[in-house]
Symmetry: C2
Subunit: 651 residues, 2 copies
C-alpha cells in the first residue's frame, strides 16, 4: 500500500525520538529490556520462572527433543519480543540484534507446518486437536502476534522471511475459517488476529486479509454460540476450568454481536484489542455502524470504567471489566496490557477522527500505567497496577493476592513485559497523524519528524520539556516552504495554553477545533513554534458515583498522576488527609527515581491515640496533627522497597 | 455428673424464656425453622438446593438404594437439626416432633457400623478410605455434631438411644486415635469433636472422653504435621483442591501447637470451635497455660479482628481471618456460624471467669450477626453477613460474589441455618451462670429461672424491655429466703446504669467488679430489682488502624448496631454523611420489620451534579444538600427487597 495524503488521517511513524523523558525509556528497552527478555525467553534468568518459549519452538522445528511447557499461548511472548525488535531496528540498526532475530526467524520458519499452521502447543502436544477449542486455546491469538511481528520486522529491516511465514499462516487460517461452505464459522477466545490481519492487509495490499478480519469481527457473538458448539463437540472438556468460558460469554465479548455491544464487558485486554480491530476496519471500509459501536464502547470505558491512571479492568477474576463506576483502588486488576490495548484503541480512533479526548486518554495511560509496569532498571514488571496498596493485606487477604507490592522478575504468563517493550519501541507511531493539509500532534515528544508525502515535506524538529514542564518547541526543517496546518493538541490537564510563532504571541482562541489549536500558514525553513502548556498541581476528583474515590482527591500535574508512598510519608497512609486551600510545591529532584518532579504540601495525619485495646469506641474524637506530605509520580512507585502506596487521599 | 455449686462457675439452663424480643425468635425456630429445615433435609423444598442428608442416612442404613450426594460433611446438618430439637423438647414437650426425631434416631442407629463408625459419605462412597484424609473429610467434625445432638436429645427427652450411639461412636474414635502404640496420632481438619467430647464427658462422667478431647487439642500443630503425612500417604490426592490444606496449615489452625498460637488465624469457624474446646478443657482441668492461650486468642479477635456487628472472618477465601485491623465492609465474609462459634467461646470463658467483656461480645454477636442470619419469616438465611452491600457489584464483580444481597432459601453447604436454630433453641443456656454464692446475669432475657442447687433456690422471674428499652425487672420467686449475690452485667454500651431494690434506689458505684454490679442481701420471696440501663444513640468509631472505617461512623443504640438501607434512604448510600452535633430521634415502629426502633436524623447527601460525561474533573466542588437519614437495626436488613446497605457512614 502506498502512503498518500487522502481524506483519511494517516499515522506518521517517520519520527526519530530524541526526548528528554522518552529517549531513556527507549534506550532502556533496547539496552536492557529486549536483551533481558531474550534471556528470559531462553530460560537463562536465575530465579525467574522459566519461559520455555524458545525451546518450544525448537522442539516444534525438530531441532531439540522434549515436551511443551508453558501457557497454551506461550508463543506470543516470542512474537511480541520480535515485534519490538522490528521497531528497534527500524529506528536504529543493530547488526548483532538483527543476527539473533534472523536466527530466531529461521527456527520459527522451521516450526511452521507445511500447510502454514504455526503453533507450538498444538503441534507438540495435541496435534490432532487443532482448532477444537478456540475459546480457550489462543491459536488465532498467537497467529495474530506472529503477524504483527512479521509486519514490524519487514518494515524495520526490509526482510520478508517472517512476513512470508505470516502470510502462509494467514492463508492457512483463511482456508480454515470463513463463511464459505466447508469452513469453520468461528473466532478466537482472545482477540488479536483481527487487528493483526488489518496490518497484514496494509503491508501486503492483499484484501483477503482485511475480509478475514471483518469475518472474525462480525461472526463473534452470533447465535448459536460458537464456543458452546465447540464445547459440546469436545464433550465438555476445558483447558482453564475456572474460567467457565463456554457459559461466561461476555468474558470474551461473545455475548452479543459486536455492533450491538453497549458496554465494555469481560476480559479487558481482549475487549480493547477487539475495539482496536473494529476501528481499523471502520477506517478501512468506512463502516459507520462499526464506528458508532467504537465510539459508544470508547465512551463507556473513559466515562465510566477507567481509573485515573488510564488503567482498566476492575477485577482479578477474568482480568475483567465489572460495572459502571466500580473502580476499587486496592483490589483493582488494571493490567498493564489492558492499558496498552486502550492506547492501541485510542491511536486507531485518532486515525479516524482527530479529537483530543482520544489523545488525552492515550497520554494518561502511557505516562501512568504503562511505564508504571516497568521498574527503573527495566528488569522487573507489574502485571497488575493497583491504585492503593497495603502490602500486609496483599500477603494475608486473598482478595488482594493478585496485587504485588513489588515488581516481579518475570511471569509464567508473561504477556505484559514484552507488550511494554513493543509499545515503547514503537512510540514514534503515536505522536503524529496527518489528514489532508493538517499535521496533528497528539503527544509532545521530542525528535525529528522527517516525512515526505506527495512531495510535501512534513519535517519538524521538536523539543519537549514534558512531563515536568509544559514547554514545547517546534522548528520547521523542511527545505521547501509549504502551506499547511499544524494542529497542536491542548491537553485536558492544561488551562491557559499559549503559542508563539517566531517569538511572537499568536492568539489561539477561536482556532481550537476538537481540542487542537490549528496554526495555518506557509511554513518556511526555520520557522519556530513555541507552545506553552501551563502545569499546575490539580486536585482531581472522581465522579460522585465512584464509591472508591468518594471524599478523596488525587493529585495530577501535567499528564502525571501522583501517589503517596510509605517511603516518604510513613505507614498508615489512610490516616493522611489533604487540607483545603494549602499550597503545593512542585520541585524537580534530579537524584530521585531517575529524576522526577515531586509535590509537597502540609496536610494532616490522624493520631493513633491509645485506645486501651478497644476496637470500637463511643464517639472518640479524632485527633489530627499537621503533617508534611510528599507525592511522587505514580509510575515511579515501588522502586524503593516494599511499602504502602495510595493515589486517592482523603480531603 | 451431678451439678453442684463449687469453686467453678456453672452454666444455668433452668430458664424458661418468656421475652418480649427473644420468645418470638424461639417460637419461629420451633414453628417455622425446624419444620422447614426438616423439609429441606428431606429434599422437599421446591426451588432450594436438595440436601440429600436424610437420604444418605437411609442409604447407609440399608433402607434405600442410591448414591451419596452432598458435601462430605452433609451428616452434620442433620445432627445440628436434631440438637436443636433436643433443646426445644427440653423447653416444651411436642409429641409429634419427638416422634419424628425418634424415627430419625432409629435410622441413624441403623446407619452406624458394628464397630461404632458413623459417617454416610465414607460408608457409602469410600468404605476403605476411613480416616485417610482427616484434613479435608470431616469425619470427626460430623462425629462431634452427632455427639452434641446425642447429649442435647438425652438432656431434652431423657432418651438414651442417640446418646448410646454417640458413646459407641466416641469409643470407636477412642480406639482409633490416641498416643498409645497402634493408634493414629491425628486430628480433624474442622474442629468440633473436641468440644463435643467435653459435653459427652459431662453427660456421662466418663473421663476417657475428656482425655480424648485433650489429646486432639494438644496433638494439633505438632511436627511432623499430620495432614502432610496423610497427604503423602494418599500420594497427594485431595478432596478440595482449591484449599491447598496440606500446605496451608494455618487454615485449620495446625501451623503451631495451640498453646503457642498468638493470633486468630485461618478458617474462622474452626478457630472459634477450637478455642471453645480449649476453654472447656481449661475449665475442667484447671490448665492455666491453656487458659492463657484462650485469653490471648480472645483478645486478638475482639481487639483487632472483629466487626462491630460481632462477626469475624474478613475474607471469603478459606472463610478466614486475615490480619489485624483488616475489616473490609463490602468483601467481608463474616459467616453466621463464625459468630455462633464466637458466642460459644464467650460462653465458655464466662464459665471460667465472669468478666463482662465476654458477655458484651456475646451480646453483640447475638443481637446483630446471628439474627441477621435469618429472615423475618424464618425461611431464608445469610451465610455471609457483609457490613456494606452494593447489589450491582455483588452481581458483576467477583470480589463480592460471595456476598448475597438477599437471604437464600438453603445452601449446598447448609451449615448456618441449623446452627442458628440450635443456638436460639438453647438460648436459655447463655443467660446465667452461678459461682459460689453469686448468680451472674450475662444477658437480659425475660423468663423464669427455676433452679435448685444444693438446696439453694435460684429462682427469679425476669422481665426485660431489651433491646428497645434498657429496663429490666427481677423478682425473687424462691420460697425460702436466701443470702447470695445478684451480679448484674453493666453493658459496655451503657452509661449511668442504676438499680432500685423494692422501689428504693441503691448505689451501685463501688459494687461493680469485672463489669458486674454486685447486689448482696438475703433475698426474700417477692423482692424486686429494677435495673435501668439508659440507652442513647451512640456514634461509634473504629480504631484508627481499621482502614475500612476511617472517617466513618456507625450508630449503635443499646446492643443494636444500625445500618442505612436503600429502602429508606434511596440508592448511592456512599453519598450520605452524618452531620456533627445533630440530634438523633429513636422511635419504636411497631409495624416495621416486626417492630423495631428506628433512628432518624438530618445528614447530608452529595449531589450527583452533571459531570458532562466526565469521570475525573479538576477540583469539582462537592455540592451537598441536607437529607433526612433513617437507620434500622442491622439484623433486620434485606427484608424489604434488593437494595444497598451500609453500617459505616461518612462523618
Amino acid at each position: 500500500m502506498n502512503p498518500s495524503i487522502t481524506g483519511k488521517p494517516l499515522q506518521l511513524k517517520q519520527l526519530r525520538i530524541r526526548d528528554s523523558f522518552w529517549s531513556s525509556y527507549i534506550h532502556r528497552v533496547r539496552d536492557v529490556v529486549v536483551p533481558y527478555q531474550w534471556e528470559a525467553l531462553n530460560d537463562r534468568i536465575a530465579g525467574a520462572e522459566p519461559s520455555h518459549a524458545i525451546k518450544n519452538l525448537k522442539i516444534t522445528a525438530g531441532l531439540e527433543q522434549g515436551e511443551f511447557h508453558g501457557m497454551v499461548f506461550q508463543d506470543s511472548d516470542v512474537a511480541k519480543w520480535l515485534e519490538a525488535v522490528g521497531y528497534l531496528l527500524e529506528n536504529e540498526s543493530d547488526p548483532e540484534l538483527e543476527r539473533v532475530a534472523d536466527e530466531l526467524i529461521e527456527i520459527i520458519a522451521a516450526a511452521q507446518m507445511d500447510d502454514g499452521y504455526l503453533n507450538t502447543y498444538f503441534t507438540i502436544k495435541e496435534p490432532n486437536q487443532r482448532w477444537t477449542n478456540l475459546a480457550e486455546c489462543h491459536e488465532l491469538y498467537c497467529a495474530g502476534h506472529w503477524i504483527e511481528a512479521g509486519v514490524a520486522y519487514y518494515q524495520g529491516t526490509g526482510k520478508r522471511k517472517l512476513l512470508d511465514v505470516c502470510c502462509k499462516l494467514a492463508d492457512c487460517i483463511d482456508q480454515t475459517f470463513g463463511p464459505e461452505p466447508g469452513k469453520m464459522i468461528g473466532y478466537d477466545g482472545h482477540q488479536e488476529v483481527e487487528l493483526a490481519l488489518v496490518k497484514l492487509y496494509r503491508a501486503t495490499s492483499n484484501e483477503k486479509y482485511l475480509k478475514l478480519s471483518q469475518f472474525f469481527i462480525d461472526v463473534r457473538g452470533q447465535e448459536p454460540n460458537f464456543y458452546q458448539e465447540q464445547f459440546k463437540q469436545r464433550n465438555g472438556s476445558v483447558h482453564f476450568p475456572f474460567l467457565d468460558i463456554a457459559s461466561n460469554l461476555s468474558y470474551s465479548q461473545a455475548h452479543l454481536p459486536v455492533r450491538l455491544q453497549e458496554t465494555a464487558e469481560g476480559h479487558a485486554v481482549r475487549a480493547v484489542y477487539m475495539y482496536t480491530a473494529m476501528a481499523d476496519i471502520a477506517l478501512e471500509t468506512g463502516d459507520e455502524e462499526l464506528l458508532t459501536a467504537c465510539r459508544r464502547l470508547w465512551s463507556n470505558i473513559v466515562e465510566k470504567r477507567m481509573y485515573i491512571t488510564g488503567s482498566i479492568g476492575s477485577m482479578a477474576h477474568g482480568e475483567s471489566f465489572t460495572l459502571d463506576y466500580d473502580l476499587p483502588n486496592d483490589s483493582a486488576y488494571a493490567e498493564t496490557c489492558a492499558s496498552i490495548g486502550l492506547i492501541l484503541f485510542a491511536q486507531r480512533m485518532l486515525q479516524i477522527e482527530p479529537r483530543s479526548e482520544y489523545a488525552d486518554v492515550l497520554e494518561r495511560a502511557l505516562y501512568n500505567t504503562v511505564i508504571s509496569g516497568m521498574s527503573q532498571d527495566g528488569k522487573r514488571f507489574f502485571y497488575v497496577n493497583p491504585l492503593e496498596v497495603w502490602p500486609d493485606a496483599c500477603e494475608h487477604n486473598h482478595t488482594f493476592s493478585h496485587v504485588k507490592p513489588q515488581r516481579q522478575e518475570w511471569f509464567g504468563c508473561a504477556c505484559c513485559p514484552p507488550n511494554i517493550a513493543r509499545l515503547l519501541a514503537s512510540l514514534n507511531r503515536y505522536v503524529f497523524t496527518v489528514q489532508g493539509r493538517t499535521l496533528y500532534t497528539h503527544l509532545y515528544v521530542g525528535g525529528d519528524l522527517n516525512a515526505e508525502l506527495d512531495g510535501r515535506q512534513l519535517m519538524w524538529k521538536t523539543e519537549s520539556d514534558l512531563p515536568w514542564k509544559g514547554e514545547v518547541r517546534f522548528e520547521y526543517i523542511g527545505q521547501s516552504a509549504d502551506e499547511f496546518t499544524m494542529a497542536l493538541r491542548i491537553p485536558d490537564w492544561c488551562e491557559g495554553a499559549s503559542v508563539k510563532i517566531n517569538g511572537e504571541t499568536v492568539s489561539i482562541e477561536g482556532s481550537i477545533v476538537d481540542g487542537y489549536a490549528r496554526l495555518t500558514r506557509e511554513w518556511q525553513q526555520g520557522d519556530r513554534i513555541e507552545l506553552s502548556l501551563p502545569m499546575t498541581v490539580k486536585r482531581m476528583k472522581a465522579h460522585p458515583s465512584v464509591r472508591a474515590a468518594a471524599g478523596k482527591t488525587a493529585l495530577q500535574r501535567g499528564p502525571i498522576v501522583y501517589c503517596a508512598e510509605e517511603a516518604d510519608n510513613g505507614a498508615d497512609l489512610h490516616l493522611l488527609s489533604l487540607s483545603g486551600g494549602k499550597e503545593f510545591e512542585a520541585r524537580f529532584e534530579p537524584e530521585l527515581l531517575g529524576g522526577v518532579v515531586t509535590i509537597t504540601t502540609t496536610g494532616m495525619r490522624k493520631k493513633q491515640a491509645d485506645w486501651d485495646g478497644r476496637l470500637y469506641h463511643v464517639d472518640k474524637p479524632a485527633e489530627e496533627i499537621p503533617a508534611a506530605l510528599k507525592f511522587i509520580p505514580y509510575y515511579a512507585w515501588a522502586n524503593r522497597g516494599r511499602g504502602e502506596m495510595a493515589v486517592w487521599i482523603k480531603e
